[in-house]
């Protein structure tokens, strides 16, 4: 009466450890390679081309000035082209004439404030070369303003991490007021007011340090008191 029918395997499902190398869905070794290559190409296009170009488009639309390097002209206005620019508000420039505010020392090579080759001095805290450099910078400050006996703010004689630091401490700017006042015949109180106008406060009054943008300060100085 009964007819033989093949029974399902009563011992349960096939243990999942057993895989056939020709199993579908990308599980054979060769198809695994194919999946890997295809997925890698897609991810490279997505993260390496689509994503940066999308950010570029959004930036161009909403923040064109920032996206192109935050350039300003001599009047302190925002510009988009290097030809019209006096510099970037975010990238320091080297000022060596004593009638300008000096920026922090820069260790970039071959010249200071080389914005195509950022970097610090990497001198260690006990390296004799550090002391030699510090002494030379102290001597240069004293030579330019022999009458100034104030203590020198540390950031004015130490090179920055990027070599492009656009800022210096307020103390470093104040320290240089007597020299510039004497050479440009400007009352120190007016110079102090000028410095104070260029102070960048902490972000949200909490993050970062208060500082003075040196390029902005020197441009403002030239505008207010042309030589």
């Amino acid at each position: 009466m009964t007819k033989f029918t093949p029974q399902p395997d009563v011992t349960g499902p096939v243990p999942a450890t057993i895989h056939s190398t020709s199993a579908p869905h990308g599980e054979g070794w060769l198809s695994m390679l194919r999946v890997a290559v295809t997925l890698f190409v897609i991810m490279t296009l997505l993260a390496g081309i689509v994503y940066p170009l999308l950010v570029t488009q959004i930036a161009r639309l909403f923040f064109p000035w920032q996206a192109h390097g935050s350039l300003i002209n001599h009047a302190g206005q925002h510009v988009l082209s290097g030809r019209q620019a006096a510099g970037s508000i975010l990238i320091g420039q080297y000022f060596s004439h004593p009638w300008y505010f000096w920026p922090r020392p820069s260790a970039t090579s071959p010249m200071p404030y080389n914005a195509a080759a950022s970097g610090g001095s990497n001198t260690g805290p006990t390296n004799p070369a550090l002391i030699v450099n510090i002494k030379a910078r102290v001597a240069a400050l004293h030579a330019a303003d022999p009458g100034n006996k104030q203590p020198i703010p540390v950031d004015l004689i130490t090179s920055s991490g990027s070599g492009l630091d656009p800022d210096e401490s307020i103390a470093a700017a104040y320290y240089q007021i007597p020299r510039i006042a004497r050479l440009r015949h400007i009352p120190p109180a007016k110079l102090k007011a000028l410095v104070n106008r260029c102070i960048i406060e902490r972000s949200l009054d909490v993050f970062g340090q208060r500082a003075v943008n040196v390029l902005e300060l020197n441009l403002a100085l030239d505008r207010a008191y042309p030589r």
């Binding site: 295809t38 390496g48 940066p52 909403f62 390097g69 950022s118 260690g124 006990t126 993050f207």
Partner: protein
């Protein structure tokens, strides 16, 4: 420390902790393969399209060996792509600065190993070496994919803990695709746009040339060489913001520019500095909550998170203090006191907008995670200030470590802790109901001992070879610190440096690349083996004798085990470098 320093640390940790739960819960949706609320409507069709094109069956699960093989294969492709794009960049588009092929080949080899392993050690200066094409399509892509690799390993391990009597750990392809589409790409897009708004450039135009406000004479390279009049400044720009965002979110750390996050274009304001720190800490800490959700006990996640944050703060605070205290050798020459008008402290290699406080906080954040970004130059830190980042890396990058890799590294320590505690109370060690047996212990021991061994052997090799010693920039104990730091950083996939060391030599390029690859994959493979082994086990209900792994006591034991097993391993080496130098400095020697 100034009140502002405490406030900034509190705000940073507080902000990240507030974000842990929402972001962690969101990631739990992603890895439990549920439809993701909100963005799922937009990205879901894209996800399914990718599966169709690649021939991926999203329901198909892999065992630990196939998962690992898929991962290794994918990383091998990434390695080859980064190497070849560097060598061919001269012929490729998006190269307005006309950068030639990256040479020598050992440098391209080191860089490929570095970016594939989420290390981002850089023996090159970005703005003078890499074309925009290489930065975007090779380096930034690996910033994404190496972070994704870390996430996939972690997800597999967590599934191994959460599932029972199965060999299935999920699909590497699906985990990778979902990590990219739902987590890394959207977060990076948002952060990149915010960074642009603050002044980070994003352009494919060529470098900008401006006429200097005050031209100056630059002395020749030798005493007899004529001086040159410098009238212009070339300003390197590029697609910086898109790379900067994933550099932090993926705990990669490889800068677009040589000066990394000290460069005003990578990190222009105090606000960007804070956002970058938050972005670095976000995913490694948030995944602790995801982990808790996936094992159905969020307190397990919080316990691990507590250990991570305590270790991080324990080295962050002394770092801030040491840098704010300044360099006693400079006291005669300048004023290092913090006042409302100046940050003071040790300002060598630091930016005025950050000062010692933000520099030291960033240093701890970027070395406690495997990021290795810097906003100041560690080589110029005070010896104790420099010891903090190096020790944070030497903890094997678990405080809180890299995206994915930090938590799976920490879970290895948890297994060791459970085992040792189990021996002390005479019980079979278990974690989350899984028996921890000889196989798991062997694999966890390998994963934990590989990085320290690589560090110490690598440093020893560098110390006794002429090629190793030739790279040193600073004399004395500091030179040893430079070598120790280089090996520590690469053998823990961190990537920061005491940058004075000249690493672009065949010796350092090849040795470093081997250390990075070994440190990455010799920990991933044992971790995956543990994931496979745990998934096969039953889950035993907790009894009265079970060690609670979510209690403050357990957190304390976990920290103690990490300190004893790892931190003290390096004490002799640290004594020869930073500690010896600190003694010299305090004694007034230079």
């Amino acid at each position: 420390m100034t009140p502002n320093a405490w406030l900034q640390i509190a705000l940073l940790i507080g902000t990240v902790l507030l974000l842990v739960k929402p972001v962690g819960a969101y990631m739990a949706y992603v890895y439990e393969n549920q439809p993701v609320p909100g963005v799922g409507r937009v990205l879901g069709p894209m996800e399914r399209g990718i599966y169709r094109v690649c021939g991926i069956s999203p329901q198909h699960q892999q065992d630990w060996k196939r998962y690992t093989v898929a991962l290794l294969l994918f990383n091998l492709l990434g390695f080859m792509a980064v190497y070849l794009l560097q060598r061919w960049q001269g012929w490729l588009p998006f190269n307005p600065a006309q950068m030639p092929a990256v040479a020598p080949s050992s440098l391209a080899f080191n860089t490929a190993a570095s970016f594939v392993t989420n290390t981002n050690w850089q023996n090159y200066a970005g703005e003078s070496t890499m074309s925009y094409c290489t930065q975007m399509a090779a380096l930034a892509v690996q910033n994404f994919l190496s972070a994704t690799t870390g996430l996939t390993v972690l997800v597999a391990l967590v599934r191994g803990l959460a599932r029972k009597t199965t060999t299935e750990l999920g699909s590497f392809w699906v985990d990778l695709t979902r990590s990219m589409l739902y987590i890394l790409l959207p977060l990076s897009l948002v952060l990149a746009v915010v960074l642009v708004s603050q002044g980070v450039p994003q352009t494919l135009d060529k470098y900008i040339t401006v006429h200097l406000v005050q031209p100056f004479h630059q002395a020749g390279s030798s005493a007899t060489a004529p001086s040159t009049l410098i009238t212009t400044q070339t300003i390197a720009v590029g697609p910086v913001a898109s790379q900067e965002a994933i550099k932090e979110l993926g705990t990669n750390g490889g800068g677009f520019f040589n000066a990394n996050s000290a460069h005003p274009f990578e990190n222009p304001t105090g606000l960007t500095n804070f956002l970058e720190e938050v972005a670095i800490l976000l995913l490694p800490l948030a995944f602790c909550y995801t982990f808790g959700r996936m094992v159905n006990d969020t307190r397990q996640g919080w316990a691990v998170l507590a250990a991570m944050v305590i270790l991080l703060l324990a080295l962050m605070i002394p770092c801030v203090m040491a840098e704010q205290a300044g360099n006693p050798l400079l006291v005669r020459y300048c004023n290092q006191q913090p006042t409302p008008l100046q940050p003071g402290g040790n300002m060598v290699g630091k930016e005025a907008r950050f000062g010692p406080v933000n520099s030291a906080i960033f240093a701890a954040v970027a070395t406690g995670t495997s990021t290795g970004a810097v906003n100041s130059m560690f080589d110029s830190f005070t010896p104790l200030g420099g010891l903090c980042p190096i020790w944070l890396i030497q903890l094997s990058e678990v405080a809180p470590g890299g995206v994915g890799s930090g938590l799976y590294g920490m879970l290895m320590f948890v297994l060791i802790t459970v085992f040792i505690a189990g021996l002390m109370i005479g019980r079979t060690p278990e974690y989350l109901g899984k028996k921890i047996e000889a196989f798991e212990m062997k694999m966890a021991s390998i994963a934990i001992l590989v990085p320290p061994s690589l560090v110490l052997v690598g440093t020893a090799v560098a110390c006794v070879t002429a090629a190793g010693l030739a790279g040193i920039a600073n004399p004395g104990a500091h030179g040893f610190s430079e070598m120790l730091y280089a090996m520590t950083s690469q053998a823990n996939n961190n990537g920061s440096a005491f940058a004075g060391l000249n690493g672009d030599t065949t010796f350092y390029n090849v040795l470093g690349a081997l250390l990075m690859l070994a440190a990455r994959f010799w920990t991933i493979i044992p971790t995956m083996a543990i994931a496979g082994s745990l998934a096969r086990k039953k889950i035993i209900p907790a009894g009265s004798g079970t060690l609670a792994t979510n209690s403050p006591l357990f957190v304390f034991i976990l920290i103690a085990i990490i300190v004893v097993v790892i931190a003290l391993t390096f004490f002799p080496a640290l004594a020869l470098g930073p500690i010896a130098e600190q003694m010299q400095m305090m004694a007034g020697h230079r």
